[in-house]
Amino acid sequence: MRALDRTTWTLTWRLLRGGGRHGLLAAGLSVAAAAVCTTLLLLCVGANLGFGERAAHADWRSPVEAKGDRAVAVQAVDTTFRDGEPVTVVDVAALPGAHGSAPAPPGMPRFPAPGEVWTSPALGTLPGEETTGTLGREALSRPGEKVAVVGHRPGDPAMTTERGTDPRRPGDIVTPTRVADFTGERTADGYGAQYQDLMKLATVLVVVPLLVLGASSARLSVSRRDARLATVRLLGATPGRIAGMTAAEALLTGAAGAVVGALGYAALLPLAAEVPVAGGSWYTADLWVGVPTLLAVLAGVVAMVTASALGGLRQVVVGPLGVVQRSRAPRMNIVRAALFVAVLVGYWLMSRGKELDIDMVVYFFAAVFVALSFVGPWVVGVLGSLVTAAARRPATLLAGRRLLDDPKSAWRAVSGLTLAGFVAGFFVLFSIGGGTPWGGPDRLALSVPGDRVAQVQQEVTGRLERAGIDAKVGTDDDWVATGTGARGERQVTATVADPGRLDAARAALTDVVPGRRPVTGEEVGWQREQFAGDFQKATLGVLGAGFTVAIASAGITAAGAVLDRRRTYGLLHLAGTPLRALDAARRTESLLPAVVLTGASVLTGVFCAAPLTLAGGSPQFDGRSAALLAGCLAVGFTGLAAASAASRPLLRTVAHTAGPRPD
């Protein structure tokens, strides 16, 4: 490509190096923005892949029934609790005649002999059992996971008694299953899949503001470059050469930023691995994206930065006598507003009265983001018309005219904040938390066949007395513990007087009913509670990232706008125009659309969450989420004001230096 020949690279490199303080600042900001984009993108991709890795390491605990006579072992799973944390217990037994050929379960050097107990490092020991060995990484989805593998004989009650599954905690209980190996299968009904969907959603929510940030930084570079490029045009460079130089500079800054971002990702990996999600921290290797994906992300960031720079250049058509000014304000078509309304109405009709489906939410979010990006500039244009018509003060008039003059640019500055506002608005109504209705935290329950209730009740009382645990034993018809679903099953309960002895009571009651472990009502909902907690954290993280990126975009855009108008600012200053008037115009220009658009997007978010939350019959207004929303908005607007204020020194500098200098 001739536009990117050696001359182009040489000229670009010289202009980059000789750009002065402001030029270096602009180039530095471009590099920084590309670096932040790269790091966050890699972390998002890494987390997506990480959930996949976690799931892959837990697959073996979801046994697949062996076909025909290929079974070599029997496998069953149950989940008990220690200190409120789940402990996965995998019971295995080699089938007669196959002992020698039964493969070792993942993370173990051999198949466990009957009576052996192998535990994960975080678990240490099972109550009342001696540990034979430690499970390796292959058996575990995360470092802190508590897993035990218990060896049995095939005829042991634990391996022959049917276990009832519980839809409230998918994957926690698996009835004895004859297996040909320990490959297992990926469960689609568990929270694991929802975590992956949640991560996809978070990635969409973070990536869009990141694209805005990348575009803002590229636009800033163009602002800084245009005067120099105009000079090069004057010297006879073709528009193709100018485009080539713009692409070359964007490639250089984008590549530098992408490399810095990749280094940042590598440096942050150990820290990211410590972030507890879905029960605990990560194996660092699980968050590593791999070289091909790394290179693909880097190439994507560089391509995005280059495309943004070329797009920005197209807008400020560079002529030999400088940047050609637009002769009339662009008109924003009302079709944009119609499209936005159509998306919302379509969504409302499709989602009314339906249960939440995260996949649908992901697609919908993407659709609303696109719709917001369409309607945003139109709203800014309308706002500009209103402000201009009503303006009495020069600063307001200037702000209104600027909004009207370049609504897309004004939208770019606040789009990140608007999108973050939409997310915040969505989650203020939407809450998946909520207490469990299945009994107290100190009452253990066992599901018992109706004809054995009296016997088990007596056995429970005796065992607890022998263990010296003060507890009230009784029966209940609430559905707490999981049975087989057979008619006549009842719950035998033990309410422990000292909650600190709950785990001791649990250990004492192990195997009272073969294959069934006592649980409390709180423990039954552990997956839901954990997901709700992580959902809240993810919301906070996404909002934090969204607002941070939005504020950075706003700051960069504000700096770019100052540099764009540096000559005019300088001359107006020389002519006695107070800088505070120019500054007030800038402030109004950024804060006014931010307040209006973010307010509107919060309401859009609430509107969109309403059908999902109303599906249950009544809206769930979550006080914590509302406080979170208010906090985020307050921080967002403060940050935006600070971002605008941060470019005030730049305004002062350009006002004092950009005018004609004595020769």
């Binding site: 009495r392 005219r401 370049d406 002519a575 006695g576 107070p578």
Partner: protein, 243 residues
């Protein structure tokens, strides 16, 4: 010899010195401009002519010497007062780029009035009155991007004068224009400032621009080396010859 004593100058600089590091840009310059009079400042690049304009316009503070506006010393004012003075009593026309691209021409002209506290409707009305005399009728609502270079300079001239400036400073006002348009702009500039009884200081490289002014001072190495008056101008009538 004049029959009547000449009125005091509206703007004068006496013994002006200004250095930038080791470079002496002005070295004891005395200059004055009267109400309704136009003064061209010429000289080669680096001679100090723009520095002289900046010192007279209170953009730069001279190292020594004094600048009087209507008999009041202005070179010692603090920055806010200097800005206000430039906005309210001076007008500026630069080579290009002084118009805000977002504002229609009439609002560019009205801006100094609004900054001075005039309400928008009145400011715009007053600004409109300048368009016809400057040959800009019908261009009021055009944005700078839709104006030719000469039209943009005339809008800038209207903006410089709309607030009732006592002195207008023009730094290479025709530098970005073709010869014919440049002559048109300098003609209007000198005529209108004379009609408004405002002083005019024009920095230029162009002899044909300087010829429109009543007097010309030539600057070299920070000093005025020659002063000439155009025949027929008030100054020329007084002195009649180059000095």
């Amino acid at each position: 010899m004049n029959q009547f004593p000449s009125p005091p100058p509206v703007l004068s600089g006496t013994g002006l010195c200004k250095s930038f590091g080791a470079t002496r840009a002005l070295d004891g310059v005395d200059v004055a401009v009267h109400a309704g009079e136009s003064l061209a400042v010429m000289g080669p690049s680096g001679s100090g002519k723009s520095t002289l304009l900046h010192c007279l316009a209170n953009i730069e503070r001279p190292d020594s010497g004094e600048v009087l506006l209507g008999g009041e010393r202005i070179d010692q004012l603090r920055e806010p007062a200097r800005s206000e003075l430039r906005r309210t009593r001076f007008g500026f026309v630069f080579q290009f780029g002084q118009l805000l691209p977002e504002l229609p021409a009439v609002e560019n002209v009205a801006l100094p009035l609004m900054l001075g506290g005039t309400d928008r409707r009145t400011a715009v009305q007053r600004a409109r009155q300048w368009f016809a005399p400057l040959g800009l009728a019908g261009k009021e609502d055009h944005r700078p991007g839709a104006l030719s270079g000469g039209q943009a300079q005339r809008v800038a001239l209207a903006r410089a004068l709309v607030g009732g400036a006592q002195v207008v400073f023009a730094d290479e006002p025709t530098g970005a224009l073709d010869q014919a348009t440049g002559q048109d702009v300098i003609r209007l500039l000198t005529q209108i400032t004379r009609q408004q009884n405002a002083g005019l200081v024009v920095v230029t490289h162009d002899e044909s621009v300087a010829r429109w002014c009543d007097r010309t001072v030539r600057v070299r190495d920070g000093r005025i080396v020659r002063e000439t008056a155009e025949p027929g101008s008030p100054a020329g009538a007084g002195t009649g010859a180059a000095r």
